[in-house]
């Protein structure tokens, strides 16, 4: 951007490189390309207008994602297929986890699943799980950064992340069985 002011220059250097990440997170939050585009645009305008509140050299990506998430919560419709409400803390992840690992102990089936199906499985997670998983395991943010971005304790980030991963693994495992990437072990009855 040919922006002469110093503020414009630092914004270009610090904020613009994160457009791809902002777009990906927007896609996962809204579940819709046109809403994701609007959300990224709104986020960048808000960020530009409040750029003086950003402390140079701190975590620009986290700062931008905080704006994006707040904008999403305040101004955007939740996705149409709101996941069934469930008690997030009581999901029991262990049983399936073990049976998966008996059949394919090193998880080589993960490499066979196509990108679109991976994204579909992420999109099917409950909102609270999906956002921590995307920020952590897709965008590579640290637990502490995620806690700050979402306004929740680090312990909550970790427990949601743990359950999100197990739920995603179970979903992708069923898919891999369906597609014949792996043969489930016959369980004696």
């Amino acid at each position: 951007m040919a922006e002469p002011s110093a503020a414009g220059q630092t914004f270009d250097q610090e904020a613009l490189p994160h457009l791809d990440a902002l777009y990906r997170v927007a896609l996962r939050l809204t579940g819709d390309t046109s809403q994701a585009e609007d959300l990224v645009q709104d986020t960048m305008l808000k960020a530009y207008r409040s750029w003086q509140q950003y402390r140079p050299g701190t975590n620009a990506k986290g700062w931008l994602l905080t704006i994006l998430r707040n904008t999403f919560i305040n101004d955007y419709r939740r996705r149409k297929h709101e996941p069934i409400a469930m008690d997030l803390e009581t999901i029991e992840p262990y049983a399936l986890d073990r049976s998966i690992q008996e059949v394919d102990p090193e998880g080589s089936f993960f490499a066979q699943i196509v990108d679109a199906r991976v994204l579909e499985a992420i999109d099917a997670l409950p909102d609270e799980f999906r956002e921590v998983l995307v920020l952590s395991d897709v965008e590579g943010m640290r637990y502490a950064e995620i806690a700050e971005t979402l306004g929740i304790p680090v312990g909550t980030v970790k427990s949601r992340l743990f359950r999100a991963r197990r739920q995603l693994q179970a979903d992708l495992y069923s898919h891999a069985v369906e597609m014949g990437y792996i043969q489930p072990r016959e369980t004696p009855t």
Binding site: M1, A2, E3, S5, G8, F11, L19, D20, L22, Y23, R24, L27, E37, V40, Q41, M44, L45, Y48, R49, I100, Q101, D104, P105, E106, G107, S108, F110, A111, I113, D115, V118, L119, I122, L133, V134, S136, D137, V138, E139, G140, R142, Y143, K158, L161, F162, R165, L168, Q169
Partner: protein, 81 residues
């Protein structure tokens, strides 16, 4: 000997793979994985899962049209100040 047994290593596994443990615990968990085959396999499983997420779900990029639209809006915004 390492102070980390199987149960402790597995409890720390997610944090180990994301390098979110103290330096001391990182070393102890790594040492356990080097000596325990079942735990090592479990770690490979989780690692392959995380690699899949990192590589397969982070490929989408901001569309050029959107990037151009945002740059134009920011320029207009800068002019109006």
């Amino acid at each position: 000997m390492s102070g980390v047994d199987c149960a402790k290593a597995m409890a720390h596994l997610d944090d180990y793979l994301r390098q979110e443990l103290t330096q001391e615990l990182m070393v102890e968990v790594r040492r356990h994985l080097e000596h325990c085959r079942p735990c090592f396999k479990h770690a490979r499983f989780e690692e392959n899962f995380l690699i899949m997420l990192e590589t397969r779900a982070a490929r989408e990029t901001c569309p050029e049209k959107l990037r151009a639209r945002i740059l134009a809006l920011l320029r207009a915004e800068a002019r109006d100040r």
